[in-house]
Symmetry: C2
């Protein structure tokens, strides 16, 4: 069995690209870009809550970093560095090596340096802290939406939750939907490019990790607004609709922007080759309230908004 130090050296120590001192000392050293603000986020993934025990290790390595990158996207930040703390049961060298392969696949794809970490034994869990940069005052926040802004969502929310429902035998998906939903669940693609493009354009942004309605609720509460939603092509009933409205884990970006930018958003969608769907607008009213109607103007009452780790 490898020691902690052998494990770190073999699996988690790679050459860095833009770091003064990486893994292996009491701390890492970076030189932040002069004149930029540093954007910092930390996220936990715990077995049984955020991933199933039998999740493929390489996929899990990718996802562990990707969900943190998604927070950088939601802030409009350029991600640059990350640390990883890993709690691992009696270590299987092969498992950890596969996990690190997936993690570095994601790191290489987004040009992230892994600069430090910690490992210990216990029930499997991962904590990534991620660092990005943004020009002062340009990071996207949750509290900047104005009454009358359009509300937008990227991609196709609910796919990851549908993929999970399939794995848990609560539904049966067919190809090609199955492949798309499992890819959304196992290899989420953080919307970094979209986040960067939204600097100076979006009035507020959040990434959908707990569910679209729940995460929209955060923007509305922090911006003191109500929302009127009328979602084009919303699945009419059942699990697919619940997943669209309340399924977490997709890591799409949900954002608001002034209504006069609707045309610019459609142009942006074309340029990024990424669906951007206008799902409603904000309004003055009870902070956090959501009014959702279907194509015929009938009110819809969702089963739940999203996921709370302590409810």
């Amino acid at each position: 069995m490898p020691s902690e130090f052998e494990l770190i050296n073999h699996c988690f120590k790679r050459p860095t690209r833009h770091t003064v001192l990486g893994v292996g000392d009491d701390g890492a050293l970076i030189s932040p870009t002069p004149g930029q603000e540093l954007v910092i986020s930390t996220d936990l993934l715990v077995e049984g809550t955020h991933f199933l025990a039998d999740t493929n290790a390489e996929d899990l390595g990718w996802k562990t970093l990707a969900v943190n990158l998604s927070d950088m996207a939601a802030m409009g930040a350029q991600p640059r560095w990350a640390t990883l703390a890993a709690v691992l049961p009696a270590p299987s060298f092969d498992w950890i090596e596969a996990f690190s392969r997936g993690l570095f696949d994601c790191a290489d794809h987004y040009n992230i340096d892994l600069i430090g970490g910690d490992t210990t034994r216990g029930p499997r869990a991962f904590c990534v802290t991620i660092f990005g940069e943004a020009p002062p005052g340009q990071a996207l926040r949750r509290n900047g939406a104005k009454a009358g802004d359009s509300i937008w969502i990227s991609g196709q929310p609910g796919r990851a939750a549908l993929g999970l429902a399939h794995l848990q035998r609560r539904t049966t998906l067919r190809e090609p939907d199955l492949a798309h939903c499992l890819a959304a669940l196992h290899r989420p693609q953080p919307r970094i490019e979209l986040g960067l493009a939204l600097r100076g354009i979006a009035s507020a942004a959040i990434d959908v990790s707990d569910g679209l309605l729940a995460d929209l609720g955060h923007i509305l509460e922090q911006s003191n607004l109500t929302a009127r939603l009328h979602i084009p092509n919303l699945p009419p009933t059942g699990l697919a609709r619940d997943c669209w409205l309340s399924g977490g884990d997709d890591y799409e970006l949900l954002f608001t922007a002034a209504a006069e930018l609707d045309g610019a958003m459609n142009a942006l969608a074309n340029r990024l080759e990424l669906a951007l769907t206008r799902i409603g607008e904000t309004a003055a009213g009870t902070p956090g309230e959501l009014i959702l109607s279907d194509d015929d103007g009938e009110l819809i009452t969702p089963a739940r908004r999203g996921y709370d780790h302590f409810m």
Copy 2:
């Protein structure tokens, strides 16, 4: 039972002192001091491995931040910001409130802003990532020791391990030793001031978290050196000696400095009112080798060097 958001708002959201945007968005925003390097470290504390299940929650809050501050001390960094990720079983509001009280006691004492975090349900564990600053090139590393350097340790190593042995009924301590050892175990005092004073003076530094010999081994391996140790007043036998040499969790600083600075070190000890003990010197030789002799020149073979989380 409070929701995740109520819990964070009540227990972990406090006004910040030197932060652009703190807890409550997808990421925090800080403005690093122009011209400084950023020093980053991340550490895990897992129940059963790093602390006992019945540890006082307030003490544990203090220690969770203090052990990370110790990494900043070992780098010679001025600590400024921290994030906290917490895995908690079915939450007791009182427990978490006491934990946060201890955490903020420590944060206030060292002028740290808590800028972000994550909470989820599961077997109790904490991950802190900490951020400090140091002038370029002045952070203390493990790999800078030169042959002939003196080796120094701050404070009295082994106290925390002795305190733990008492709690586990492997020994019985009497007052005032008991109080000192339990304080070292529950309320470690990171040696920030010492770390800052050692900038430009120490050739290498590490904090003793795994055990003095194990952590000295990291300096020796990374500096390609051997050490000859002759420790004044080392307990002659038994548990007290094992704890001195191999007990972790004290968070004292272990460092090397050129022999001509021995006098300066004694002056520094007086200025900081902190014991600094010269325990030997480095030498050319097999990297990582330790030769330890007692007052009569007899070789000592320690039972073990320290703690490895996977052995």
